[in-house]
């Protein structure tokens, strides 16, 4: 049954286009803090599906710039939200994908990002002070995209990642925290950008990553937890960066992702039968691209952006995805 499933591209494109017109008030206003991220997820998914112009470019750039926090020198998730590193990275990625980086005050943004580094080497998300290796990755990714990586204290940054390495070869959100696939992705991708993959115990980690696959083909984020489509990206991208994508069963994973689509309204959910959202749509599509699904555009797993854009900026690292199948 699942072998007949295909990626319903036109349906997902209109799903993303319709996000801005959502009638579901409650869910929509509660996710204002994710708005910038949501636009990045939507745009990247469209790009990978070959429909990068499906959303209005000027409107999008206008929205991004309306989130500029003049006081902090970064981007918030929504107009008049305080600047945060998560939304700042998404804003930069959107502007690059829309070829509008000239709208950015690069010096100020770099200053904002660097100001968030803590003595231990980790980054805070904003002045509130929450720290997490996710923010470290956002900083490294953003500085690299802006061509300002040379301003980063690399030693301190890498030493914090080392502090987060666990006995199972994985990485956690902070020093002492449990290994988790999403944190593994951010640490491995940051190390890839910094050319320090030597820190990784590759065999142990890649085995741990391949062990995320469950009999139903889906991937989980930690041992004994449930499968979720977004791990198709977190786990897969780390395996791709470490050149071990063959260590999971790709056919079964493709089937799993496809079976989580909403065949009526479009979009992809965390698992079959659940409600779709733009986050899982993006990471499902991203996973499929890395798995060589036919008709999709190549994705760079390190930056989670279209590979051609990263290559054009001279930032491509030595990752390997599965060869693209022909239609």
């Amino acid at each position: 049954m699942t072998q007949d499933l295909k990626l319903l591209v036109p349906l997902h494109v209109s799903y993303i286009q319709n996000l801005g017109k959502s009638q579901d008030e409650l869910a929509y206003h509660l996710t204002a803090h994710l708005r910038m991220n949501a636009i990045y997820w939507g745009l990247t998914a469209l790009y990978i599906m070959g429909h990068k112009d499906a959303l209005d470019r000027e409107e999008m750039i206008g929205f991004v710039m309306s989130c500029w926090d003049e006081e902090a020198g970064g981007f918030g998730a929504h107009p008049d939200h305080d600047a945060h590193i998560l939304s700042t990275l998404s804003a930069i990625q959107i502007l690059i994908m829309q070829d509008a980086l000239d709208r950015l005050d690069v010096d100020r943004v770099v200053k904002f990002i660097l100001s968030l580094q803590q003595p231990s080497g980790v980054f805070a998300g904003d002045s509130f002070g929450e720290v997490d290796t996710r923010f470290l990755y956002c900083a490294v990714n953003a500085l690299s995209l802006l061509g300002r990586l040379f301003e980063l204290d690399v030693e301190r940054t890498v030493s914090y990642i080392c502090e987060c390495k666990n006995y199972d070869g994985g990485f956690g959100a902070t020093a002492g925290a449990e290994s988790h696939a999403a944190q593994v992705f951010v640490c491995v991708a940051a190390l890839a950008i910094l050319d320090r993959l030597d820190v990784v115990d590759q065999q142990t980690l890649c085995w741990w990553l391949s062990e995320r696959q469950l009999p139903n083909g889906g991937l989980n984020g930690r041992p004994q937890k449930l499968e979720d489509v977004c791990y198709s990206f977190w786990v897969l991208s780390a395996l791709s960066i470490l050149n071990k994508m063959t260590w999971i069963d790709s056919e079964k994973l493709v089937s799993f992702i496809l079976s989580a689509q909403d065949p009526e309204s479009g979009g992809i959910a965390d698992r079959p039968g659940d409600m779709a959202d733009v986050f899982h749509t993006q990471f499902g599509v991203a996973g499929l691209s890395l798995l060589g699904y036919p008709g999709l555009v190549d994705l760079d797993p390190v930056y989670c952006m279209p590979a051609s854009i990263i290559e054009a900026r001279g930032l491509r690292k030595g990752w390997k995805s599965l060869p693209r199948k022909s239609i």
């Binding site: 803090h33 708005r35 309306s66 002492g176 741990w208 260590w247």
Partner: protein, 338 residues
Amino acid sequence: MANLQNQSALYAERPEWEDVVPLPQYESVKPLAPIFYTPEYKDATDYFRGIVKTGEKSLRVLDLTENIIRQNPAHYSAWQYRYKTLMALGVPLEEELRLMDELAVKYLKTYQVWHHRRLLVQQTRNPAPELAFIAGCLQEDAKNYHTWSYRQWLLAHFNDEALWANELDFVDGMLDVDVRNNSAWHHRFFVVFQSGVRKGEEDRNEVLRRELTYVKMQISVVPNNMSAWNYLRGILDHSKTPYSTLESFVAPYCEAEPTRPDDSSKDVVDLEDPFPSLDAHLPCAAAIEFMADIHESLGGDDNLEVAIELWSSLASTHDAFRKKYWEYRIREAQSRAH
């Protein structure tokens, strides 16, 4: 209307808020992703923007931010401003923590709830009650990532003997409830091996022996538990103990029907080499993998042959899912041998 309804009235309708100028959501551009508000949320956030503009830090701001947080626990600006207000007012933070106890249970998966708590506890410098609170949260959601990492932060930050004192018992308790709880296994490693040496644990050989006994017992009860095998490998790697020292323990787990020990010793559990429990699913793929690693580490052609045979059985039968990985192990080992 009686004041009983006052708590749920819009701020725009409350006379005590008359002096504040509410500021609507900034929308100078036609929003690509427009927000649709419920009247209550719009009202509360309009007034929030109003008091942020004037920099007010008062008790009613605490009410307002609590209201917003209850409607949207991810509104991080509300959390930040609430914290600043608490600091400015100098209110007793223990009270704030009790409020947070209620919210944390409701919003277990929200980063802000936990970060706010960290900030408060750094101020009160009273971490002890937090352990019971965290244990309570874990009753609701035994693998919550934020909850466990908050516990790890608390222990490491205060690094107090009294705080650490019952931690091993706590982990034992969590693993009694669910021996497959990976977070609990991780926490055990953190407590025993990653946070310095505490009173009573100075004999590291004794500690290692204790932990080996513990993990072997847990494996014997439920062999197909990847977290336990990862823990075993972790402690062997950490102490640089050769895997081969575990050979007699691992051997029975590699067979479908291992020969059980002599009946006369049925009541005595062999702590060195606890046998697989009667209802265990055998052979255990993790054990076969471990045995292959043992043979690979011992070196020589005969051992390599055994390792390859074990990896092949995993590729073809016991863990066919990860066929490519097992084939990689075979190739790697062969190329290193020549």
